[in-house]
Amino acid sequence: MSDRVAIIGLGWAGFRPTTPDLSYKELIYEAAVKAYADAGVDPRRDVDSFVTVAEDFHEGTSIFDEYTPDQLGAALKPMHTICGDGIHGLATAYMLIRTGRADLVVVEGHSKASNILTLPEITAYAQDPILNRPLRLNTHVIAGLEMSRYLYETGATREQCAAVVVKNRRNATKNPLAAYAADLTPDEVLAGPPLSWPLGKWETAEMTDGAVVMVLASEEKALALSPKPVWVIGVGWCNGAVSLESRDWGRSEYTEKAAKMAYRQAGIGYPLSAIDFAEVDDTYAYKELQHLEALGLCQPGEAGPLTAQGFTGPDGELPVNVSGGNLGIGDLLDAKGLVRALEVTLQLRGEAGPRQLEDVTIGLAQSWRGVPTTSSAVIVMSN
C-alpha cells in the first residue's frame, strides 16, 4: 500500500464579489463538473469519499452538511463535513487515502459571502461569550492588537505591510480569478482609512464568492488517470491558544508547528532552499509577513525588509502569492485554503498562464482561518 497521494483534478467557479445568478448548489456544481472532467472521473461510480469544508453560520443553516451531497454527485456515498479551512479538507482526504480504504477522494469548499448581510456580527459570535463578546468590539480588533505586537517585536514597519498589498494586488492583474486587482503605491495604501490602527482598511482582504473542488487520488489511481499528477509530499495543521488571554500576540507559533509537521513529512530540512514558491495567508497584510517567518522561509523580522526589496515578488528569489492572495483575489471564507492550494497546483502543472513561474518543482500553500481563530494549515506539493 504505497502512501503517495496526488491532486489530479481541479475545478473552480465564481470568484466575483457577488454571484447572484447561481445558488450555492449551482456554483458548487459548476466547479465540481470541471474538476471531475479534469480528473477523468465519474463521481457516481469512481469516487470513494467526499469532504466538504463549511461553517453553519456562514451558510445560514444549521447542520449544513445536509445540503452538500447532491451537487457533488455524492448522494448515498461516504461524505462528511470538516469545520475547518480548505487545507484541513485536503489533509482529511490525504489521510482517508493513506488508510488504504479509499483511492479517490473529492474535497469541496465555497463562499457565498455576498449572501451574508451581517458578517461582522456573525464573526463577533465566534468570540468567547463570557470574556470577550460582552465588550461589543468588532473582531478586527484582534488583528489590530496582533499587528501592533508583531511590529513591536520584529521592527517591521507599516510601509513594509503596505508593500505586501502593492505586490499582491499587482500580481492579481495577471490572474483572471482575481476580483481586486489594482496598481497601487505604498503611500496610497497607507493613506487608506484606518480599521484598527495600526491596521488599515486597505491592508484587509475584501470578501468574494466562489467555489473550488479538487480530486485527490492514491498513487496507483493517479498514475492511471493523470498525465500531470501533483504530489502531496507533506501536510500539517495546528491550533494555538484559542483564548485571547493566553496567546503569544507576536508570533504565529501554531503556523510554526503546522509547518514543522509538513516539512518533517516532506523530508525538508531547510525550507528556503527546498520551497520554490509559496501561497501564504494574507487576510491582513501583516499576516503574510508573520506567516513567512513562522514558515521558516525567512528569519524573524526579515519578512518586512525582504518584501520591500522584492525578494517575494513574482520574479524575486521566493515568489509569494503570485495568484494575488486574499488581498488580490478576495477572501473566500472557509475555501481560502483551497484557493491557495489551487494556485500552487496550477503553477506545478505549468498551467498558470501569464503568471506562470519558471521551472518550479516544490510549492507550499498555507492558510489561516482568520480572527478570532489560531488555526493554521500547511500543504507542500511537488510535480
Binding site: 448548489k25 449551482e26 465519474d42 456580527e121 456573525i122 459570535y125
Partner: protein
Amino acid sequence: MTSKNREFPGTPLSEKDFEQGKILFLHDEMNGQYAWDTGIGIGRYLAALKEGYLLGSHCRRCRKTVIPPRTVCEQCFRPMDAFVPLQDTGTVNTYSLCYVTWDVQRITEPEIPAVIEIDGASPLCGIMHKLGEVEPDAIHIGMRVQAVWKPPEEREGAITDIRYFKPIKEKGR
C-alpha cells in the same frame, strides 16, 4: 461501573438556580441576516409559485420528474433536461398532528404537516407542506389533496403562497 469506580463530573442546574442568581450567567442574541441567492432552479420554483403553479424538473436519463426543481439530477449527476409544470393536486405520503410550535409553545389546535406526492412528479416525489380544512381523524396516508392558493395579489413568490392543501372531495364519497 468503569474500571475505576469514580464519580462522573458534571454540575446540573435547575431554572431556580438562574432565577435566584445562585450562578453567574448572561444572555446574548446573534443578528444573523441573509439573502440567499435562489439561482436558476429555486428562482424558477418561486416564480412559478407566484404565478400559481408548482414546478418540477425532469431528468431524461433516469426518467424521474422531481420537485422542488433543481438544475442537476443528483442520481445521474447530469444537468436536468427541462422544467416541468405540475398539477397542484397530490397524495398524502405521510402526515402528523403537531401540538408544539417551532419555538416550543403548546397549541390546542394542531398544525398538520404532511409530505404530499405531487401529481405529475414521479412516485414518492413530494414536498412538505401543511394540511387544512380537514378533520384530523379523517386524514389518512393515500388521501387526495388540493392546494389552496393565496389570491394572486397576496402572492410573493414563496412556498407560503400555498396556504395549505385540503382534501379533494371524491365524487360519491
